[in-house]
Amino acid sequence: MQITSPGFKENARVALADAGLQKALANARTGFVAKRARAVAALPEFESLREEGREIKNHVLAHLDFYLEAYARAVEASGGVVHWCETAEDARRTVVEICRSVGARTATKGKSMIAEEIGLNAHLEAAGITPVETDLGEYIIQLRREPPSHIIAPAIHLNREDWIEAFRATHRDLPADRAFPERKTLIDEARSVLRARFLAADVGITGANMLIAETGSSVIVTNEGNGDLTQTLPKVHIVIASIEKVVPTLEDACTILRLLARSATGQDFSTYTTFSTGPRREGDRDGPGQYHVILLDNGRSSMLGTGFQDMLRCIRCAACMNHCPVYGAVGGHAYGWVYPGPMGAVLTPALIGVETAGHLPNASTFCGRCESVCPMKIPLPKMMRHWREREFERHLTPSAARFGLGAWAWVAKRPWLWRLATRVGMGVLGRLGRKRGRFGALPLAGGWTGGRDMPAPEGETFQARYARLKRQGLA
């Protein structure tokens, strides 16, 4: 897909002015947060499970070579085939080769962020194989030929009217004047259109939420059941998974599953959690005859031993973006590649380079909500700060920002000057804004005040207040 991460600032400006997007985001912002809060409050052990989840993933990463080899051996002992792929190109080529080996003309797909990461659909189309997205959210964005804007709710940027428009434009064999009185009408139509595609597909491609070394199983988690139909009906099932998805045992998987749905959708457990182990067995009446796993590295092994290793614990629940004020304001497309929000701001520079994605770690207020809700306790703000430092060190920061930072540092290193400047600044702004209590516009800060008001400062500076309270024995 086209990478537009270098244009993040412009993307964000456009997103803030997009009324349809803002309506959709307003709808989404409250739902996920409230549902997660309810699910977490109902499980007293949630915090301890987070600790254990983190330890399991840290244990895996410290022994990743062992667990990958054990996993691959278990897949092979179950009759499956593992394809080790270093790059996106290797993975795409391998998928096409498998499809060609069975003369495939269409491939159904379950939702897979790795497939997005490697740009699989465009590559399949170029090879003459029609990819059919079957997750409803992925289906609509495939019809609209746009990338997902969220890692678990790919069409979160759309409203009902957008669905109706796309369905009318695509499902031409249905009566043009049909009505869509409720959401269910849309879902029923998609179900019947896609059911025919499921039955006709030669290959089914899914991602994996986890891989299990003990049994050689791949795990998918869905609510629709589309992933299950994708991996059950065609004669070939291809799993695309990155190397950090492996966990040791079914017990370890259960700990992570207890965290995943609660953090993602606020469900206690998703509707379908399915463990697939190799191809159809003797006596089975359904299931694919071939089972392939594309085990993709694509830059992840190089994150081990660096300040970004913790990012490999991520289980793609999307809690960080659901709770992020920046994501909530601009949506996922502004981030310009596959992974948006805080996890994307950390992962994207590691996968496509800080030169291209350097803006993303800057798109944060460092409010810390992402880390506080992350089920794997990934220190996302700390890692965004690492990227900012690297960007600065490599002189990728624009000169105006470098000058501003330099000026700030010069003042901040001189306490007398800092105290004077903050006291004068606060006094002036406080007096000017006394009447309204806030500023709708400020000189040199038009970009900032364009989207929000600046509160007028009140009372004394932080340092003055701290000193006073300390004198009074209150701090």
Partner: protein, 245 residues
């Protein structure tokens, strides 16, 4: 694996080891990890399902009903065909069912319901209703466990608009871990994999209610790609000290 993929494997493992600043794991460490796989120790398990038996069954039921499945009780297995027919009539569904080729289900007195068209096997595109067994059910979240096999084709859980599940109450367990242990105990066979014992069938589906989607405006609608309705017939095959009130 073709040669280029073997090279890719060696390079990926090499980069991992360089990142971790070590070579291949020493024999003793690797043996410890193999032992961890074979022993599969349990992690922290939420206390919510550690309950007296009757309460555990009640918890399962409350959870699966909250997830939009319906539950009917059968006091005797001979009642099951009648309960199936009654459900179809009440839900206004055609009296035709595809039954999993499971010996327990096949031996039910279906002949007593002559109006019911029955077939055994995997699901086909035109099947509207399936009847399946249930290996185990998990009280913690209401989840039902469906291992695939000749007796229980996976398509029956996915393609028909309605799935009727026959669950024996004695197969309700507290947690997912309890269900895995049942599978390990009942399906173990020698294996060439890292744990030397194999028990996983081609697929195990953990199902918690009917299919749904929230992809349109983040609002949940039932009946996406899988069943719109999941109806459980709970066979009361164990005596409980105190029935939940």
């Amino acid at each position: 694996m073709v040669a280029s993929e073997a090279d890719a494997k060696a390079r990926i493992l090499g980069r991992i080891r360089r990142g971790l600043r070590r070579g291949p794991l020493p024999e003793s460490v690797a043996a410890g990890l193999v032992e961890r796989l074979r022993a599969h120790p349990r992690n922290l398990i939420p206390a919510r399902s550690r309950l007296p038996r009757a309460d555990q069954v009640a918890l399962w039921r409350a959870n699966i009903e909250r997830e939009h499945a319906t539950v009917a009780d059968a006091l005797d297995r001979a009642e099951i065909p009648r309960l199936v027919a009654a459900y179809l009539a009440q839900a206004n569904l055609p009296p035709a069912i595809r039954i999993a080729p499971d010996p327990d289900l096949a031996s039910l007195p279906w002949a007593e319901r002559p109006m019911l068209a029955i077939g055994f096997g995997r699901a086909e595109a035109e099947d509207a209703v399936s009847v399946t067994p249930c290996f185990a059910a998990v009280a913690e979240t209401g989840t039902m466990v469906f291992p695939s096999g000749p007796d229980h084709p996976t398509t029956l859980n996915l393609m028909p608009g309605t799935q009727i599940v026959v669950l024996r109450q004695s197969r309700i367990v507290g947690t997912y871990e309890d269900a895995w242990d049942l599978l390990r105990a009942e399906r173990a066979a020698p294996w060439d994999g890292p744990t030397v014992v194999r028990f996983m069938p081609r697929t195990v589906m953990l199902v918690t209610g009917p299919s749904r989607s929230a992809d349109i405006e983040q609002t949940i609608e039932l009946g996406a790609h899988g069943p719109r309705r999941v109806h459980v017939i709970l066979l009361r095959d164990e005596l409980l000290e105190t029935e939940p009130g």
